[in-house]
Amino acid sequence: MSIRAVGSSRSRYGARDKVLGRTRYPGDIDMAGQAWMKVRFAGQPHARIRTLDVSKARAHPGVIAVLTAEDVPCNEYGLIYFDQPVLCGEVVRCEGDQVALVIAESEQAASEGRDLIEVDYEPLPIISSAEAAMRPDAFLLHPERGDSNILAHYKTRYGDAPIEEIFDDCDVIVEGVYRTGMQEHAYLQPEAGLGYIDESTGQIVVNVAGQWMHEDRIQIAHALGMPEAQIRVEYSAIGGAFGGREDMSIQIILALAAWKVGRPVKIIWSRHESIIGHHKRHAYTIRTKWGASWSGRLIAAWAECIQDAGAYAYTSSKVLGNSHLTVTGPYEWEAVHVDSYSVYTNNVPGGAFRGFGGPQGHFAAETQMNKLAERLEMDPVKLRLKNVLRDGSQLPTRATMPPGVSMGPVIEAAARAAKWTRQGNDWQRPATISDAATRGDHATATLRALPGHRRRGVGFAAAFKNVGFSFAAPEENWATIELHGGGEIERVVVKAVGADVGQGAHSVFRQMAAEAVGVPLERVELQAAHTDLVGSSGSASASRMTFMAGNALIGAARLASRRWEDEIRPATATFGYRPRVTTELNYETGESDPNISYGYVAEAVELEVDLDTGQIELLHVLCADDVGRAINPRLVEGQIEGGVVQAAGYALMENLVTEEGRIKTPYFSNYLIPTIYDIPRRTESLILEYPDPFGPFGARGMAEMPFIPLAPAIVAALHDATGIWFDQIPLTPDRLLEAFKRSSVRAFERKA
C-alpha cells in the first residue's frame, strides 16, 4: 500500500477484462428490440445527384425506414467548419460521402435495402490532386466557402530582409521536394455503435467509440437542431483511435436513426466501410530550401507546403498549422519564409492522425538537416545541437518557447544511448547501434558493407510537438472528485470523461487522482462513461490528455481535500482546468503564440537494406522521449513501441493508393500494415524526465512524439547505407530499386 501511485507501472486499468475477452466494445452491445442500419455510400468521388429513388428499399421486407438528406433537421457538421452534409442531397464530393440510411429488422435486410436504393448521378469533374485543385480554373468544390479550393493559407514572414537576399549570404544551400503519403489509422475495432432513446430521461443516447464525447454531442445536437441536454453520448471500450475517431463517422446518423424510428438502432462497419468512411493522414508535398553557414549555423529557410485536405475540412487547417510550425524543425533561425496551403480535392478527407502535421513537417525538416550535415561534413548530432531550440529561444512565429525546453538534452541522450561518441563539441556516429549479438560478424564493418547484396546504415532525427490544442483553440478539462469516508478517506470517486482509446488514459487518471488525494490506488474509482457525468475533457488527441486531465484532477483534489478538512462528508469538488490562452496565426506575418507546452523526442535507427530486392529490415530503433514525468512507465513504453511500429508502417509499407479519387486499397490484403514480421527487431525506449513547469507532477504529453522522427531517421540510415537520399515515403521496395537503378549503388537492367 505504500507504493506511490505516480511513477509506478501499475497494471492497466481494465486489462484483465480485455485479456479475458469480457470488455465490451460498442459492437458487442445489443439491446432488446434493436434494429440494424446500413449506410449507402456515394461510391463515387464527385457527382450531382439527379434522382434518388428509395421506394424499392422502403418496400423491401424487413426495412423499417430509409432516411435521406430531407430527414436531417440541420444537414451540416464539421469540427472546424460546418462544410459537410450528414447525408448528401445534391452533390457528392468523395467516395465515402453518405447518401442514405437504411434501418431494418436485420443486418441482412438493411444490406439488401441499401442495395435497392437507386441513385442517378451526373458525373462532375474529379479533382484528384491538390495541385490540380489550386489551378485558377479548377472546378470549385465548395463555392459557398470562397472563390478558390484553398481552404486555408498560412504565411510566416520572419527576418529582417527578403528571404532571397538572405540566401545570397548563406554558404551552403540544401533543397528538396518531399512527398508523404496518406495513412489509414487501421484501428483494430472498426466503427460500431448503438443509438437509442432513454425512456427515463427522454434523451437520445449514442453509444460509440470516439475521442471526445462532448464534441460528439455538440455535433449531434447541431445536426438534429436540439439542445445539447437532449443528447447523451456514451463511450464503451474503444479499440484504438489514433485521431481517426476525432471526427464524426456514425455518431450523428445513429442519433438521427434512433430519433426517427424510436427504437434502438445498431450499426457495425466492415473494414472496407471503415477505410472508405473515415478520414486519413494528409498527403503532403513540401518544397523547401535551407541556407546555413560553413560553421553549421542555420540562417534561412523557405518552404511551400501543400496539403491535400480531401473533400471536407475536418481538422485540416489545424493540421496545416502544425506542419507549418514544424517544417523548420526544432531549431533557431534568422529568417523564415513559409507558405502553407490546405486544399479541397475529391480525395478521401484528411484529418487528425497521431502527430497531426508533425510527421509531415519533420519529414522535410529533419531530412533537410541530415542533408545539410552531409554537405557540411559535420555529424548530424553536432549540427542539431548547434542550432537547437532552448529556453528563451524565439520561434519563427516570434513567440518565445514556453519554459522547459529540453530538445538539446534529449538529442544528447539519444545520441549517447545510440553509441555516438563525443569529444569536446564533436560527435562521431557509430558504425552500429545495435548489440554485437544481433550484428553477428559484421560488427567490424565500418563501411557497413555486408557480404553480397546487403548494406547497413545508421540514421538520426529529432522532433518537437505541441502538447494541447494550438492556435487559440479553446482548451479545457473538467474533473470531479468525491471523497467518501468518516475519519479517513475510504473511497475516492473520480468523474473524468477523457477517452481511453487504448492508450491507458483511465489508468493514469486513477494514478494521478490517488497521488493528488494521497490514498492508495485501490481506493480510487473512476466514472467516465458519458457526457452527463461532468464537463468536457476535450479530445484524446494532441498528446494532451494526461497533461490536461492531470491538472484538472489536481485542482479538484485540492478543493475536495479542503472540504474534507472542513469535515464535509462526502467532500466533493469539481474543477475545470484552463491553461494559458494561445493565439491564432496572423494571416500575413505568421505571428502567433501557438502553444503552451511541447514534448521533445529523438531517435536513432539502424537498418539493413537488400540491394537486390529493395526490402528494408529495421534492426534497431532507439527512441529517447522526454515525458516530463512518467506517470506509468510501462504505459509510456507501450506508447513508444506502438508509435515506432506505426511510424515504421508509415515510412516503409503503408501505401494508401488512390486513383481518380477512389481508394484502391480498402482492405488489409492490399493496404499493408506492419505485422510481427515487419516491426523493428528491437525497439529501445529511453524515458527522459525533464519536468514541464506546468505539467501535472511535471508530466508532458508524449504519445505522438515517438512517431514523428522515425521516417526521417530511416531515410538518413538508408542514405548511410546506400548514399542515396529518398525524399518520398513510403519507401516501398520498387521505389528503392528505381533509385538504385538510377544511381551507382548497383546495376539494374530494365527488361528489354
Binding site: N655, T665, F668, P733, E749
Partner: protein
C-alpha cells in the same frame, strides 16, 4: 460479404464427384476452399452447386512407386506435404514452396490439386510443377487420363480441364542422382502469394550443371518455363557465381511485356528484376542441394 446462394453435395468417390458435376449446372468442385470461398464471397465466382471432395479418402496421401515416382493425392494438404521427410530431401523445391504458402490455416486446408487446378498467377505450386516435370492424373466421364504440367497450366486461372473432370493426383518423377531443386519467392506480406517465385531443378555432374528446368510464377499472368535461362545454365559450374548470375540475368528475356503482372504491389519492371534476382537464388540453392 456473403456468397450468393448455392447447393452443396458431398461426393464419396471420384466417380460420384464426376457424376455430380455432370448432373448439376454450374457446379464446381470444392477442395480446401481457400481460393474458391474468398472468390465466392466477393461474388467473383457464383457456382450454383458445390461438390465437396473432402470426404474421398482415396484422394489424400503420398505414395512412392517402384520406379521412384512420387504420387501425391489431389486432396493432400500443404501441411501434409511439408511434414513428409522424403519429399523434403528429394523434392526440395516442393518442400520450399509448400512450407511457405500463406499461413498455418491456409497450409492446413489448401490442397495440391486445388492449387494447380486454380492456377492463380500468385500461386506457388505451378512453377514447382513445371520445374519438377510433374504429371497430373485426371478422371472424367471418359475415364482417366494423364496430362503434363506444361500442357495443363494453360493461362491466367485457366487449366486444361473439362467442366466435369477431377484432378485425382499429381506425380513427380524420381529425380536423377546428382540433382537438386529449390524454390525462392518474394511474397506479398499480407497473403504470402508470390509477387515473384522461381522454381529451379538442376542436374549436376563433375561440379557443373548438365541440365536445368527453371520456371516462374507470380511475375507473369501464368507460370512458365524460362528457356533462355535453362539454356544458359548448361555447363555452368555450381560454384561459378558470375556465370549463374549471367544466366539468371536472362530470366525476363523474350517475355512479352503483356505477360507481366503489374499492380499496386509491384509493377512489371520490378517483377522482371525480381525474376533475375530470384532465379540466381533458386539456382544457387538447387546447386547446393545437388552437390551437398
Amino acid at each position: 460479404m456473403y456468397p450468393a446462394k448455392f447447393d452443396y453435395y458431398r461426393a464419396n468417390s471420384v466417380d460420384e464427384a464426376v457424376a455430380l458435376l455432370q448432373e448439376h449446372e454450374r457446379a464446381k468442385l470444392i477442395a480446401g476452399g481457400h481460393s474458391l470461398l474468398p472468390s465466392m464471397k466477393l461474388r467473383l465466382a457464383q457456382p450454383a452447386a458445390l461438390v465437396d471432395l473432402n470426404f474421398i479418402a482415396d484422394l489424400r496421401g503420398i505414395c512412392r512407386g517402384d520406379d521412384g515416382e512420387t504420387t501425391i493425392g489431389a486432396m493432400t494438404t500443404y501441411a501434409a506435404v511439408t511434414d513428409d521427410a522424403a519429399i523434403a530431401t528429394t523434392f526440395g523445391a516442393l518442400h520450399d514452396a509448400a512450407s511457405n504458402i500463406g499461413d498455418i490455416q491456409v497450409r492446413n486446408r489448401g490442397t495440391i490439386g486445388g492449387n494447380l487446378a486454380h492456377n492463380d498467377p500468385g500461386g506457388d505450386l505451378p512453377a514447382v510443377a513445371l520445374a519438377l516435370d510433374a504429371t497430373l492424373h485426371v478422371a472424367g466421364r471418359n475415364g482417366k487420363r494423364r496430362v503434363g504440367a506444361a500442357e495443363f497450366l494453360v493461362g491466367l486461372f485457366e487449366v486444361a480441364l473439362a467442366p466435369d473432370e477431377v484432378v485425382t493426383s499429381v506425380s513427380f518423377p524420381a529425380p536423377v542422382v546428382g540433382s537438386g531443386s529449390a524454390y525462392a519467392k518474394f511474397e506479398n506480406p499480407a497473403s504470402g502469394y508470390a509477387i515473384c517465385g522461381i522454381a529451379a531443378y538442376v542436374e549436376v555432374s563433375d561440379g557443373a550443371i548438365r541440365a536445368a528446368r527453371v520456371a516462374v510464377n507470380g511475375a507473369l499472368d501464368h507460370a512458365q518455363r524460362l528457356a533462355a535461362v535453362e539454356a544458359a545454365l548448361s555447363g555452368v559450374g555450381c560454384g561459378d557465381e558470375a556465370a549463374i548470375k549471367a544466366a539468371a540475368s536472362k530470366a525476363a528475356d523474350g517475355i512479352d511485356e503483356w505477360d507481366f503482372m503489374s499492380d499496386i504491389h509491384a509493377d512489371a519492371d520490378y517483377r522482371a528484376h525480381l525474376m533475375r534476382v530470384l532465379t540466381a537464388k533458386a539456382v544457387r540453392n538447387a546447386c547446393d542441394r545437388a552437390t551437398g
